[in-house]
């Protein structure tokens, strides 16, 4: 339990862990960076500890230390990792091998990469059990079958005969969990096992994992950046930031009574920031019966129609493969639609990018998900923001610089950033510069393609606030593409739900997000984890009721 810091009878006790990595930057002497410092925690038999934090918080590194493993150049330089009271860091190679895949198992974020493409899934699942002589082949196969059943995999009898590329991502992730559970380990390290999955898949995998660890009484370290996810599965939670412990407590304490500001910020549910505007103003963008596909005949969009009034925000929601990003490509002209048309401010936009005038291009700007790749790494902030100014408005020299300063001011960054390169900016700063570049054209519409999904929650919050502030100042309209319902609730006026290239639902936010729902929207809304204890059980229970009702 979090309160005990002396040696306990727990399964895993980590004491004052310190992990450092040596990097070899070109042109400089090797550097040693501290990834994790002074982290201590305990996991008891059959309990789950959630490790949560932003990217770079050191949570995966800590998780791997339970297997005495350092990824890349990382090595454990201080502290103890006690498994059943014995320090595994003091073991020799053979001793460590006896721990890995036997007492402690690992589930990676990307099961698709972690499975060997050359062997059948079943062979890989039972391999550790056989090599560590934990069970006979017949026993291991029996256990694998049992686990496939527990994890809800289709055709469990023949599932093991398939190759990794023959099954879906969600199934692979479950197979990886089966692989970890097979040798009957005392502890499993789950390293963001559902992050790469869609929400509707995530909930199934999450439920399967939870069911499986309860069934087998295995303890677990569950690593994730999503507090709502970890709240459903863990008994205790440790919040990490920059390799240090921020807060450590029981799940109910962390969720219901966080002590630290940082934790509080993570827990706080997004407020509705924007009151829904009515549909009375003129239409800026009108998408009518648009279908689009790739040159080989693969159709991605089927007869999609929606519209957006001036000065408002249209959120397009969907999972990967829903066609939401393709729709953005159609609007920009990168992918000419095969049918239908896009009208902008009363005039039909030419289908292809090359046919559009400079003025038409100026009025629609775009912000990308990955600010890193959206900006030329060889240009300074001054050049990046300045180019649209000189390109569209012909301003140069001092006038241009003046305008760049103005824009930097608008995005709440100072003059000091003028001559920095993107590599010298943080993730949030990069996205702000990208916003400034879009604003520099003085557009009427900005397409935002998941601009916050690659950012840590607090930084994302800042970007959303900035976008709302800019909308008030400049009356710009947004098409906001996202998979995150919470963001939709916070900023949208109207909402379009897309699924497999079709429009499922469209209308004002208040209507789209309230019942009666169609099946898909219902599933989507119910799958989004909520920061509430017992949410997962509730959803599963309601599902069981529905299927019983049917």
């Amino acid at each position: 339990m979090p309160e005990t810091s002396s040696a306990t009878s727990g399964l895993l006790s980590v004491r004052n862990l310190k992990i450092e990595a040596t990097s070899y930057p070109p042109g400089e002497p090797p550097k040693t960076v501290t990834l994790v410092e002074d982290v201590s925690f305990d996991v008891e038999k059959g309990k789950v500890l959630g490790l949560i934090g932003e990217s770079g918080a050191g949570k995966s590194t800590i998780g791997l230390s339970a297997l005495a493993y350092g990824r890349g150049g990382a090595s454990i330089t201080g502290g103890q990792v006690l498994l059943n009271g014995k320090d595994i860091l003091a073991l020799d190679r053979n001793g460590i091998r006896g721990i890995r895949g036997c007492k402690v198992c690992y589930v990676a974020q990307s099961a698709a990469a972690a499975f060997n493409p050359a062997h059948k899934l079943g062979e890989q699942v039972i391999e550790a059990s056989l090599r560590h002589r934990i069970m006979s082949r017949a026993e291991a196969e029996k256990r694998a079958l049992y686990l496939f059943q527990v994890l809800g995999l289709p055709n469990p009898e023949s599932f093991g005969d398939r190759y990794p590329h023959q099954v879906s991502g969600g199934q692979l992730q479950r197979a990886m969990t089966a692989m970890a559970l097979c040798p009957n380990p005392e502890l499993i390290v789950f390293d963001e096992p559902t992050t790469a999955l869609d929400v509707t898949t995530q909930i199934d995998v999450l439920a399967a994992i939870k069911h499986a660890i309860e069934e087998t009484h295995t303890a677990a370290l569950y690593i994730t950046h999503d507090l709502a996810v970890v709240a459903q599965i863990s008994d205790d939670i440790m919040v990490l930031r920059h390799g240090k412990t921020v807060e450590y407590g029981t799940t109910s304490q962390i969720i219901e009574a966080p002590r630290e500001d940082y934790t509080r910020a993570l827990v706080s549910v997004r407020q509705t920031k924007r009151k829904e505007a009515g549909d009375q103003s003129d239409r800026l963008l009108d998408i009518e019966h648009v279908s689009a596909g790739y040159s080989n005949g693969f159709k991605v969009l089927h007869d999609v129609s929606m519209h957006l009034p001036k000065g408002q925000t249209l959120a397009i929601v969907g999972e990967s493969g829903s066609g939401k990003s393709t729709l953005a490509r159609v609007i920009t002209g990168l992918l000419p639609p095969s049918e239908g048309r896009v009208t902008f401010d009363g005039k039909e936009l030419p289908k292809a990018l090359s046919a559009r005038t400079k003025e038409e291009l100026r009025r629609v700007q775009m912000i990308y998900q990955m600010a890193d790749t959206a900006m030329n790494p060889r240009q300074t902030v001054r050049d990046i923001i300045g180019r649209p100014i000189s390109f569209y408005y012909g301003l140069h020299g001092a006038k241009k610089t003046e305008r760049v300063r103005q824009l930097l001011d608008q995005i709440e960054m100072g003059d000091g950033f003028l001559d920095r390169y993107p590599a010298e900016l943080s993730g949030g700063q990069k996205q702000r510069v990208a916003i400034a570049r879009a604003l520099a054209a003085k557009p009427e519409l900005i397409l935002c393609d998941e601009p916050t999904s690659a950012l840590d929650p607090l930084v994302a919050e800042g970007i959303l606030n900035l976008l709302l502030k800019l909308q008030e100042e400049t009356a710009v309209s947004y098409v906001f593409i996202t998979h995150d319902i919470a963001i939709v609730r916070a900023i949208a006026d109207s909402v379009a739900v897309m699924h497999r290239g079709k429009l499922v639902r469209f209308g004002p936010k208040s209507k789209v997000l309230s019942p009666p729902f169609d099946d898909y929207t219902d599933l989507l809304l119910k799958s989004v984890p909520e920061m509430e204890l017992g949410w997962l059980e509730k959803v599963l229970a309601s599902r069981r009721m529905e299927s019983a009702g049917n």
């Binding site: 930057p25 070109p26 042109g27 920009t332 990018l353 100026r362 775009m366 790749t373």
Partner: protein, 275 residues
Amino acid sequence: MNLRSIPLSAWIGMIGIALALICALFAPFIAPFGEREVVGDIWLPMGGDFLLGTDNLGRDLFSRLVYGARTTIFVALAATVISFSLGMLLSFTAAVTGGLVDQLFSRFNDLMMAIPTLIFALVVLAVLPQQLWILILVMAVLDSTRVFRIGRAVALDVAVMEFVEAARLRGEGTGWIIFREILPNTLSPLLAEFGLRFAFSILFLSTLSFLGLGIQPPAADWGGMVKDNKDGIIFGISAALVPGAAIAGLAICVNLVVDWLMKRTSSLKGGRGDA
């Protein structure tokens, strides 16, 4: 980047290249005798009046080596520059334009590459008159197929990045996209590739000259000097090995620098620089 971070091997390479360049540029001041001047008996041993001895006609081997540096480096460099410009221009155009142009260029390039370079050169040089500019052009065109392939791959890598898409959406022209957006981001790998092509050109030119199809006598060039003196080998006379060693030395130096450049590129990308 500071000077101290450059590894020893790269220093050796750069010094070697500099030496060869100095020989090439100041040949008349460095060489004690003329390029075609017969100064003594044939195949005199090293040392004595002649630093490296004399060749099959009694010319000073060291002087010819110095003048040979001039011819070899000039021809190889000219061929590399032309092949590089040609390959880059075509590959970047193909990558940025895409569609039919890309298909056409790429398929033709595949066809050119289906014939091994040396064999291709032999066939073509069997027909064409033996002139220096023709030799340079043939080397350049054959080599540009390799530049095209790498250039297209590198440009496509960058061209799919979102900042290029952003420039396209802004309405920028092809020229801006190639020179301002793509080129600055491909300089490092391309510089390494240039070095590689140069090393290859030196060896290729020497091979052609050695086979009697490259630079024609009496002009001195390293590959031709090996051919001139190869008959001495049976008598234990190592005159043919001296220009051979010069070719190898220069190629090694260039490769050492390239190796360093490549490692630098890959570590800039965040890779571990293996492979």
